[in-house]
């Protein structure tokens, strides 16, 4: 579904990603794990077109994404839950969600998706007329995920959904991912909470200093001595 090959990207003269190759197949949950500053966000931004790539290719369902603008990429069926959530702070919860659905140009589908995400996160329905910025971190993260789902994505890119949240909240949010996946949404999950994210995933990639240093299925990675020592604190 998503095929990244030999990708290089960075900020101006600072090169961050070096020759990254990875893929996500339809229906999977795949994790990308790595420490602070490893280049995880940079990778997601390069896929979504908010950061220009230097070389290499990104393909989605056979279409080339490199060189396209973010809004076009979003319209192909990719949605990103951005690091730091990035809600529209002066808008109500419902307006934040409707923006996500506007891409569909189909009011009936937009309504249906709204029902879907409200069912998934009932708290959002209760507070739908409130301003997004009045929310707690966990509620904001729910809203950010729900907003991305409103676009009806085929592939959902999640950038550190656990960051800054209390453990119960992390648990609650992660518990929704299998359900979302079962609805036909493929998930690429970027995380520092390695154990939790790998447990949910079928496969994973480990990124260090902008390179993929390890890849494999869940059990291989969770059993790997290197991963245990560096990320699982064993």
């Amino acid at each position: 579904m998503l095929e990244i090959e030999g990708l290089h990207a960075g900020y101006g003269d600072v090169r961050v990603l070096h020759d990254v190759t990875l893929r996500v197949d339809e229906g999977e949950i795949v994790s990308i794990v790595g420490a602070n500053g490893a280049g995880k966000t940079t990778l997601i931004r390069a896929v979504m077109g908010t950061l220009p790539t230097t070389s290499g290719s990104v393909r989605f369902l056979g279409e080339r994404l490199t060189g396209r603008q973010s809004h076009e990429i979003a319209r192909l069926g990719l949605a990103q839950v951005m690091e730091g959530r990035r809600l529209f702070p002066h808008m109500t919860v419902e307006d934040n969600l409707l923006i996500g659905g506007d891409i569909l140009r189909d009011t009936a589908r937009q309504r249906r998706n709204l029902g879907w995400v409200y069912e998934m996160f009932p708290r959002l329905r209760e507070r739908r007329t409130q301003l997004a910025r009045s929310f707690s971190g966990g509620e904001q993260q729910m809203l950010a995920i729900a907003r991305a789902l409103m676009t009806g994505p085929k592939l959902l890119l999640l950038d550190e959904p656990s960051i800054g949240l209390a453990p119960v909240m992390v648990k609650e949010i992660f518990s929704r991912f299998p359900g979302i996946n079962a609805e036909g949404v493929t998930i690429l999950l970027v995380e520092q909470d390695v154990r939790r994210s790998l447990s949910l995933s079928r496969r994973g990639y480990v990124i260090e200093q902008g390179r993929v240093v390890l890849e494999g299925d869940r059990d291989f990675l969770l059993g790997n001595e290197e991963v245990k020592r560096a990320y699982l604190g064993v």
């Binding site: 809004h71 979003a74 949605a79 529209f88 506007d102 891409i103």
Partner: protein, 292 residues
């Protein structure tokens, strides 16, 4: 007493027009974070277009409004697409300083272009509609004042409804609050910018026509009203639509009521003093939301 009431009405009437002069500027600044220094000059262009529509085409001033609005919308779209966008794109990662310099250049260019095209003389609209009055006891309401008040409030209201309830309005608000977040949700921010700039100028088209009915145009009239629009945007709160109208009404009232008690230069100074005080104590403006 009558003179106070009259001053009150006069202030509201010109203040409402000042409000919609500032509206487009506030919208552009709120959404694109660029300061359009050519705003006053575009107002001047709108006033001349209205003047020519009444004098050359023989249109009624109110009938000229849709025409002027259409032209200004297209001019705004084209300015954003072919002039500002290329400059903005080059600066995408830095502060858009060169856009500032560019709009300043545009301001000087337009003023001088119209000096050549229209000459240095003051112009007033053709036709005698602008001289018509309603008399109510001792109070006098001119047609342009009444039209200005009604149309300005209507335009403000329409813009509020548009921004709140339409898909495009939502896209404009979202882009203004977080461009990158909007673009990964499928919103084409370049298209939103073009539309926002165009809408800003279209509203200025209405304002220019209404203003011409109460104030003669010359090629440098934009300097006066441009500065005033900046003051109003800051008073009302950047990006706040209702705030622009409220700020405009405030300035209009200070001007007309001030003139009752103070020499004219004092009330002008008073406007600036209030402006500075607001900047100092409430930088988000009187009606603006605090920025996150």
């Amino acid at each position: 007493m009558t003179s106070i009431l009259q001053a009150l009405f006069d202030g509201l009437a010109s203040g409402a027009i000042y409000g919609i002069i500032a509206l487009g500027l506030s919208l552009q600044f709120g959404v694109m974070k660029i300061i359009n220094f050519a705003h006053g000059s575009f107002l001047m262009v709108a006033m001349y277009l209205t003047f020519w529509a009444t004098s050359l085409l023989g249109l009624h001033l109110l009938a000229a409004i849709p025409l002027v609005v259409a032209v200004l919308y297209l001019v705004g779209w084209g300015t954003q697409r072919w002039l500002i966008e290329p400059v903005y794109r080059k600066e995408a990662t830095r502060e858009p300083i060169s856009v500032l310099i560019f709009t300043t250049g545009l301001w000087i260019f337009l003023d001088n272009l119209f000096l050549v095209l229209a000459g240095p003389d003051y112009r007033t609209p053709a036709g005698d509609w602008a001289n018509g009055v309603f008399v109510l006891g001792d109070l006098i309401f001119t047609y342009p004042q009444v039209a200005g008040l009604v149309v300005s409030v209507l335009v403000t209201l329409l813009l509020v409804l548009f921004m709140r309830y339409t898909r495009l309005g939502r896209a404009i608000r979202a882009t203004g609050q977080d461009r990158e977040a909007a673009s990964v949700l499928g919103i084409d921010s370049a298209a939103v910018y073009r539309t926002s700039f165009a809408i800003g100028l279209a509203i200025l088209g209405v304002a220019g026509a209404l203003l011409l009915a109460i104030f003669p145009v010359d090629p440098f009239i934009g300097d006066l009203f441009g500065v005033r629009a900046f003051i109003i945007v800051v008073l009302g709160g950047i990006g706040s639509i209702g705030g622009a109208l409220a700020g405009g009404l405030m300035v209009g009232l200070i001007e007309s009521l001030g003139a009752q008690f103070l020499p004219i230069t004092y009330s002008e100074a008073l406007i600036f003093a209030i402006f500075l005080a607001v900047l100092y104590f409430r930088p988000q403006g009187l009606f603006g939301v605090e920025r996150a």
